[in-house]
């Protein structure tokens, strides 16, 4: 077994590459979270809507997305979707960072499906009595959802959503297949140039683990500060 030597990786060009990778991974996570969370909430609301066709569409979305591997989503958003766009838009997109844009689109659609299921479970955890009471007070479906059910549901939903954010952070690594220069991509690049594969991937793994632990800690803190309170039945 060759001796471990991290020193070539911790300064100069190799470190710059790795840091650039960490930056893109974090940005992908942040942007995907900011887009997937509202989208997922909308889909969850659609799944519980009183209008049946809307429920069917939302159900179709969740099942179609969750049952296809993320890798396939990535390749689809990079190789297939942009080709369907009008020429002008396509050329503009290709001149920019199409790799990161496609990766973001894949992560958002994928994560939104999972987040929708978490939000839906949270909504369903609010006892039926709360609905009935709201309606009895004369609130419409929309207002009952907004003022009575959602505030209670969100508290129960935050812990699983934090766990989805953890998955999202790890899933950014798949973006390497479409050439998005995130952490995994840069780690492979450093490995090729330095022949220090073990050390490079040890550093990348430590980074994934470190950020994951921070996200987990955020989840624990939230649960301690705001424990889910079961509503009175």
């Amino acid at each position: 077994m060759p001796l471990l030597d991290f020193s070539p990786l911790l300064h100069g060009q190799f470190l710059d590459w790795l840091l650039a990778g960490v930056r893109l991974s974090l940005l992908l996570t942040l942007f995907a979270l900011c887009l997937a969370l509202p989208l997922g909430t909308l889909i969850a609301l659609a799944r519980l809507a009183p209008f049946a066709p809307l429920r069917a569409v939302a159900w179709g979305y969740v099942e179609a997305v969750r049952n296809v591997p993320l890798l396939a989503h990535m390749l689809f958003w990079y190789f297939a979707v942009p080709e369907l766009l009008p020429d002008g838009l396509k050329a503009w997109l290709y001149a920019g960072h199409i790799e990161a844009v496609a990766a973001l689109a894949a992560l958002v659609t994928y994560t939104a499906a999972y987040m929708a299921e978490d939000v839906r479970s949270g909504l369903r955890s609010v006892p039926q009595g709360q609905w009935l009471a709201a309606r009895a007070l004369g609130l419409r479906h929309r207002d009952a959802m907004r003022w009575i059910v959602l505030p209670q549901a969100l508290r129960a939903t935050v812990p699983p959503l934090i766990s989805q954010t953890l998955n999202l952070w790890k899933n950014t690594s798949i973006a390497t297949v479409v050439g998005a220069a995130e952490l995994m991509y840069q780690a492979q690049r450093v490995e090729t140039a330095s022949f220090r594969g073990f050390e490079t991937f040890a550093l990348a793994t430590a980074t994934y683990l470190g950020v994951s632990l921070l996200i987990t800690a955020a989840g624990v803190l939230y649960q301690r500060r705001y424990p889910a309170r079961p509503a009175a039945r």
């Binding site: 077994m1 060759p2 190789f79 942009p82 080709e83 396509k90 050329a91 290709y94 199409i98 790799e99 297949v177 479409v178 050439g179 220069a181 991509y185 492979q188 690049r189 490995e191 090729t192 140039a193 022949f195 594969g197």
Partner: protein, 276 residues
């Protein structure tokens, strides 16, 4: 003895035991009765999957077969990604690399090489409509290539301001070029010619720039210090060269009857030295 120290001792002992067990790879290969050779399987005609038989065939596969026959063992092929080649060899998951591997000075620090088995250059394929005629026009433009090879460093050396995007395999990178996600595709000349030929009539929209980015001597890769195995491998290659079999293999995979239509062979299998 603390637990940590004990753990360290166990690791050190087992590492040295492994060292002894693998002291001679050639003996191990003979004992196992098989030679495990890492190939790409995605780089026609060096190693690729024959659409009819679904088996991996090619120039380098034939060389590997000749070596396994010479050792009197069975040949087992293992398909590898470009970037995984050297780590897989170092970790002993394969005995030999026959994977379109460039022999260069940097890599000599980590692995050994056989005699040079093929000489190619790296070139740049562009779409004609891009109007690009020379390497210098690639500055600031997006160029696609394969992850983990010498292509990326070579194009960066040639054009320092180029924006490189890499993919796991040549065909994926080529697909990105076809869709216009980059203006140029850098690869070994042989792979480029092969992909060019596969385009059929659409080939008229593309052209290969005349400048050579580099001369790439391809060789088989071996783990460092396995002198007995290297002697056997080099011996087999020398015999192939002497008997004319090497020339026949070149004609079979690269000659005028193939899609690549090389008229003559510009190299001989006779040296394991490369220029820095």
């Amino acid at each position: 003895m603390t637990l940590t120290r004990r753990a360290l001792l166990i690791i050190a002992t087992s590492a040295s035991l492994m060292g002894i067990a693998h002291a001679d790879q050639l003996d191990d290969i003979r004992k196992k009765g098989e030679l495990v050779v890492g190939v790409l399987g995605t780089d026609e005609p060096n190693s690729f999957i024959d659409p009819k038989t679904r088996e991996i065939v090619g120039y380098e596969v034939d060389l590997a077969k000749a070596i396994a026959d010479k050792l009197g063992v069975k040949l087992r092929l293992k398909q590898l990604a470009v970037a995984a080649r050297i780590p897989e060899l170092q970790q002993g998951h394969v005995d030999l690399l026959a994977a379109s591997l460039t022999h260069n000075k940097e890599r000599e620090a980590v692995i050994d090489f056989s005699l040079t088995t093929f000489v190619t250059g790296q070139k740049v394929l562009v779409k004609k409509e891009s109007g690009i005629k020379s390497l210098s026009q690639l500055g600031g433009k997006k160029v696609v290539t394969v992850k983990g090879g010498t292509q990326e460093p070579n194009i960066r050396k040639a054009v320092s301001t180029v924006d490189v995007v890499t993919f796991d395999t040549g065909p994926l990178a080529f697909q990105a070029l076809q869709q216009g996600k980059g203006v140029a595709f850098v690869n070994d000349e042989v792979s480029l010619l092969d992909q060019f030929a596969k385009l059929g009539p659409a080939a008229a929209q593309y052209e290969i720039l005349p400048t050579n980015l580099s001369v790439e001597p391809l060789a088989l890769g071996l783990r460092k210090g396995e002198t007995k195995l290297k002697a056997q491998v080099d011996g087999t290659l020398r015999e192939l060269e002497k008997s004319g079999a090497a020339e026949q293999l070149f004609q079979k995979w690269y000659g005028p009857q193939t899609r690549l239509k090389f008229q003559t062979r510009s190299f001989k299998i006779d040296s394991d030295q490369v220029e820095g």
